[in-house]
Amino acid sequence: VAGAGGGCNDVQWCFSQVKGAIDDDVAEADIISTVEFNHSGELLATGDKGGPCQPAPVPRGVQRVQAPSRATNPSSDYLKSLEIEEKINKIRWLPQKNAAQFLLSTNDKTIKLWKISERDKRPEGYNLKEEDGRYRDPNTVTTLRVPVFRPMDLMVEASPRRVFANAHTYHINSISVNSDCETYLSADDLRINLWNLEITDRSFNIVDIKPTNMEELTEVITAAEFHPNQCNTFVYSSSKGTIRLCDMRASALCDQHSKMFEEPEDPNNRSFFSEIISSISDVKFSHSGRYMMTRDYLSVKIWDLNMETRPVETYQVHEYLRSKLCSLYENDCIFDKFECCWNGNDSVVMTGSYNNFFRMFDRGYRQDVTLEASRENSKPRSVLKPRKVCTGGKRKKDEISVDSLDFNKKILHTAWHPLDNIIAVATTNNLYIFQDKLN
């Protein structure tokens, strides 16, 4: 079970695989914008800003599924049917009901439902056709044989099944599938809509925070998610650092929250940029449904759903950046939206940082570790060495100073396998898979 038997510092993370271009010349289309394991952990989906897709098998049965995007490379003709043209903001897998897998993807305006199918066998030995599909001259057919299925390289295909369009005026930032497996929500800056997975021409607006006079706008919705077990409950986070929990049984329009989670600001930390760094970029329920995690610019916070006044745990991701906020504002890094994720048994949380660093926080053992996703550390089975940022004074060997950090190398998207210690970490245009050495 992931995380059991020791803190996160006891786990030795090994490089497993990396996908993506080696050179630093990153095409806009290759920038990874989302990473998501499916519920069984067998499939991994990534979205990008619209480029050619190269699905490939990944060890241990995890298949990498490149989420639909514009296929500009004619050689990937098996993906011709994929037509998402813009940056994919989010992917969410549907719970598996039968052999087929489905996922929802969204760009700024439109949500699409895709069917994922895998093919690892193909029929061979037709009587009337050659292997390449050309029809044989019937006169040459002298024997009859039964075609058989033979193994082939695994091919993963995605085909669009439904399009949910024209429901959002502002940019969609989240989608979340309900535990009832019938509905899902989509959230933009000011509104949240509820959909039925079967019905594309209609959605219900359940949250609307748009003021009558836009000049009075003070906050926007930044993320939303359904509770993993309670189909009537969802949360949405705001740019002001608050999280509202809503119960759809209370009323059709959930403008009145059932609970509001907010931590008072520390007056000692007040600066020009206090509002920006308190904006929540991601919210994720724990698998148990008892807790939720939020990510703001400098920290990760764990909230107990039973306590609204403050988080139960706060983890500093890169506190050394607090004195650099002005520079980070000038180079736009302060607007970066980092995501966060739980491990399978909710004992460890993970999030990304700069310089291709990512951080793990063990909630039980109170340990944390900084690791790096880089090509230099990418020898097969090589163990990742913990990294450390020197915050002042004498820099020790192997430490890196804050001023040496590369702010162009950021890890915004990470995902943790639901059952095992396998993680997917996305740098700008590369996807790294790491796994526990014991596996």
Binding site: K109, D189, M214, E215, L217, S239, C326, Y329, F335
Partner: protein, 164 residues
């Protein structure tokens, strides 16, 4: 860097970001525009209060100088009565008397803001500073952040935004 200088710099950076975001692909992003406006508001408040304080101090100092000047003039008069033949030399030898001029408002308007008029009256200069530094949400077109659209007109003054 003192707070006032930093506020001024942040305001300049924010305004340039605002202009840049109008022409970026995909149109204005509402969340980003909102955050920019909040930073600008903080910087503007700091700058405004520092400016007001400086103006108040300047006024107080000017008042003091006025009083000093009156006292000096009385002293001068006494000097003149005391020594008529040396009055010119005294003036030449004491150049500080000539330098005790009342300084005018030489830096009323911040130099990073575009000036709408070539010259402003002192009172209007201060008003323009406040207006120029305030960029209300409506003026940034937050009411029309649709993909593919961009602001067609930008005015430092408040504008009424169409409802979405």
């Amino acid at each position: 860097m003192d707070v006032n200088t930093e506020a001024k710099r942040i305001l300049a950076v924010s305004i340039s970001k605002l202009y840049a975001s109008r022409s970026q692909r995909g149109g204005l992003r509402l969340h980003r525009s909102l955050l920019l406006s909040l930073v600008m508001r903080s910087a503007r408040d700091i700058y405004h209060s520092a400016y007001a304080q400086a103006a108040a101090e300047e006024a107080a100092a000017a008042m003091d100088r006025e009083e000093d000047k009156e006292v000096e003039e009385e002293e001068d008069m006494e000097d003149v009565f005391e020594s008529e033949t040396d009055s010119e030399d005294k003036e030449n030898m004491n150049p500080s008397r000539h330098s005790r001029k009342r300084r005018g408002n030489t830096s009323a308007a911040p130099d990073f803001l575009p000036s709408k008029r070539a010259r402003l009256e002192p009172g209007e200069e201060r008003h323009a500073v406040l207006l120029g530094a305030v960029v209300p949400l409506g003026a940034m077109g937050l009411g029309s952040c649709r993909v593919g659209e961009s602001l067609n007109a930008f005015s430092i003054n408040r504008v009424a935004m169409p409802a979405c």
